[in-house]
């Protein structure tokens, strides 16, 4: 049962990687990375039970955290870049 779910998540991870490779825009890639990160967190929480070691759930939490901070860092990067190129961002 866990195995089936992990397989579904794994396939989704593959799809996310394909999206990241295809692009076309940078935002698509960021979206793919974000999706990939969430799927990794889910996969880990399932695999932790598959292995019978639920004490490893901490990892899933960290993955989710890293994922969030990563996306925000990318946005900050975009913002810096557009500021450097002289585009004024409106709110």
């Amino acid at each position: 049962m866990y195995f089936t779910v992990s397989l579904a998540i794994l396939v989704t991870m593959v799809l996310a990687v394909i999206r990241a490779l295809k692009g076309p825009s940078v935002y698509d890639r960021v979206l793919a990375v974000n999706m990939f990160g969430t799927k990794t967190a889910l996969l880990l929480s399932v695999v932790a039970f598959l292995y019978g070691r639920p004490d490893f759930l901490d990892l899933a939490l960290i993955y989710a955290l890293i994922n969030f901070v990563g996306v925000l860092a990318v946005l900050e990067f975009f913002q810096k870049r557009s500021a450097a190129q002289g585009h004024t961002t409106k709110d």
Binding site: Y51, G52, R53, F56
Partner: protein, 119 residues
């Protein structure tokens, strides 16, 4: 079939190692070189972790009340913990150098830097 797949990790190690190596050697962009370098290091991590795995074992964190559980080999994992931090340190230092190169030369392409440096 499963016998062959038991070596699959080592092959991926070899492939990723050499993909990283190729990026370092053949690419002229300094940041690309650093990406290749961290890939090269990751490949080594994979090799160590692969060799720490024991069939039917679990992570080397002792479980209370569970008898005759076998555990994977903790030693390579410790080494790789160290090596990961070393890898990040190297990358950070390399990036600082790249930033300075960009400021000094206005480019981060190896060819252009060689041209700018002159003989």
């Amino acid at each position: 079939m499963l016998e062959i797949l038991g070596y699959y990790n080592y092959w991926v190690f070899a492939l990723v190692l050499m993909i990283g190596f190729y990026a370092v050697v053949a690419r002229g962009n300094l940041i690309k070189k650093l990406l290749g370098l961290s890939m090269l290091q990751s490949a080594v991590f994979l090799m160590y972790i692969t060799l720490s795995k024991v069939e039917g074992a679990t992570a080397p964190i002792l479980q209370k009340g569970v008898e005759d559980q076998i555990y994977s080999n903790p030693l390579p994992q410790v080494l790789i913990l160290t090596a990961i931090v070393v890898g990040v340190s190297t990358t950070a230092l390399g990036l600082a150098i790249v930033v300075r190169i960009k400021e000094a030369y206005g480019t981060i392409e190896e060819q252009d830097i060689l041209k700018a440096s002159g003989p």
